[in-house]
């Protein structure tokens, strides 16, 4: 049996948030968690769905994007968490092929997975987006670079704010 068919169904389940679990205020995309468990073999399917199915018809408005592809952010976090283990060159190539809202979400996912530092294989794509991308791409890429360059200072400011609020 070809496992790629199972992967495709699983990725689409995660993309369209078909199996959500809500615990108090926390929402978990269970299919996305299973995507992550699948590991490296699911990367080609993830790339295909994100690049060929989502990218051509992903709206830029955040509400519309979330309604159309509610699991997009989850899949990108899954992708980079899997790729972190020995698949960085592949991930850099994939990142460079992205445009528009999917690229924007991918840069956010990188910030989540690497806690606001940009791994060097991704740097050329993010720097290019900051210079020559659409206004939205430039904004998120500049935000990501600002974090990368000034992380200790920004972290300190946010930590002070959390402390003030009792956290």
């Amino acid at each position: 049996m070809d496992p790629s068919n199972d992967y495709l169904a699983l990725v689409r389940d995660a993309l369209y948030a078909r199996h959500m679990k809500q615990v108090g205020c926390f929402a978990f995309n269970q299919a996305s968690d299973r995507v992550q468990e699948a590991g490296t073999p699911i990367l080609p399917t993830l790339e295909r769905v994100l690049r060929d199915e989502v990218m051509p018809r992903c709206p830029s408005d955040p509400s519309a994007q979330h309604q159309g592809f509610p699991g997009l952010g989850n899949l990108l976090v899954d992708y980079f968490r899997i790729a972190r283990d020995g698949q960085m060159e592949r991930a850099a190539e994939f990142l460079s092929s992205l445009r528009g809202p999917v690229l924007i979400e991918a840069i956010r996912a990188i910030s989540t997975v690497w806690d606001h530092t940009i791994p060097s294989p991704f740097m050329p794509t993010i720097e290019t987006a900051a210079r020559t991308g659409s206004p939205e791409e430039r904004e998120i890429a500049s935000w990501s670079l600002d974090w990368h360059q000034n992380k200790p200072q920004i972290e300190e400011e946010l930590a002070a704010s959390r402390k003030e609020m009792g956290l």
Partner: protein, 226 residues
């Protein structure tokens, strides 16, 4: 909605029965009104079923035992129905909102609704502004507000894997849900749990965060909704 329909039916039934007592049975205005209400709620049926007399006039109605049993049964069913309508109305009144409005259930953690405490508007607004600014700085985005109601009546959710916050019902029920989800983001950030799966976070930590957020909301000028 169901409460309104139930009250409407009871009122119509009372009016019909009072009309019958006043015009056809020659009872006084008060007798007709009280008798009508007792008929509509089923109290007359139970009384007559047991005693064989009319509740208001005390006239003996010369019913057979079978007719009395039938009146007792029908009266009992009517009383239960009326009690349910009354219970629904009282419950809705005590909650201060109509029964069809979204509700978060009130069970365990994270299911309580919050509102700005009296006299704490400035404090709550300042905290919310700070939370918003910090969230935007950390994620490069703002919470998504959906106009639709959540199917289970939730007012907001956060996805720990992405940090994405979703607020429902167009935030018609105030700003507390926004504050709660933004506090949850800060909790996840402080614990290094962003980007993690449910299994990696675990139920114990989720429960801890739900408990902690209640104190954070209180400190920020919010209170549980009555």
């Amino acid at each position: 909605m169901l409460f309104a329909v139930g009250v409407g039916l009871l009122a119509a039934s009372t009016a019909y029965s009072a009309y019958d007592r006043y015009f056809n049975q020659g009872q006084s205005g008060w007798q007709a009104l009280l008798g009508g209400a007792a008929d509509a709620t089923g109290i007359s049926g139970i009384y007559t079923g047991i005693t064989g007399r009319d509740l208001v006039t005390q006239h003996h109605l010369s019913l057979t035992p079978a007719q009395q049993r039938q009146m007792l049964t029908e009266g009992s069913i009517q009383v239960v129905g009326s009690a349910l309508v009354l219970y629904g109305g009282v419950r809705s009144f005590l909650r201060g909102r109509v029964p069809v409005a979204p509700t978060r259930g009130g069970k365990l953690f994270g299911l309580r609704e919050w509102e700005v405490a009296p006299g704490q508007q400035a404090k709550a607004a300042k905290t919310l502004q700070q939370l918003e600014a910090d969230y935007f700085k950390a994620t490069g985005r703002r919470p998504v507000v959906l106009d639709a109601d959540h199917p289970q009546g939730a007012l907001g959710y956060i996805d720990p894997k992405t940090g994405h916050i979703e607020l429902y019902s167009g935030e018609r029920f105030g700003s507390a849900a926004r504050a709660e989800e933004l506090f949850h983001y800060q909790q996840l950030k402080a614990r290094g749990l962003l980007g993690k799966t449910e299994a990696e976070i675990g139920p114990k930590v989720i429960q801890e965060m739900e408990q902690e957020v209640e104190q954070l909301l209180r400190n920020a000028g919010f209170q549980p909704k009555r």
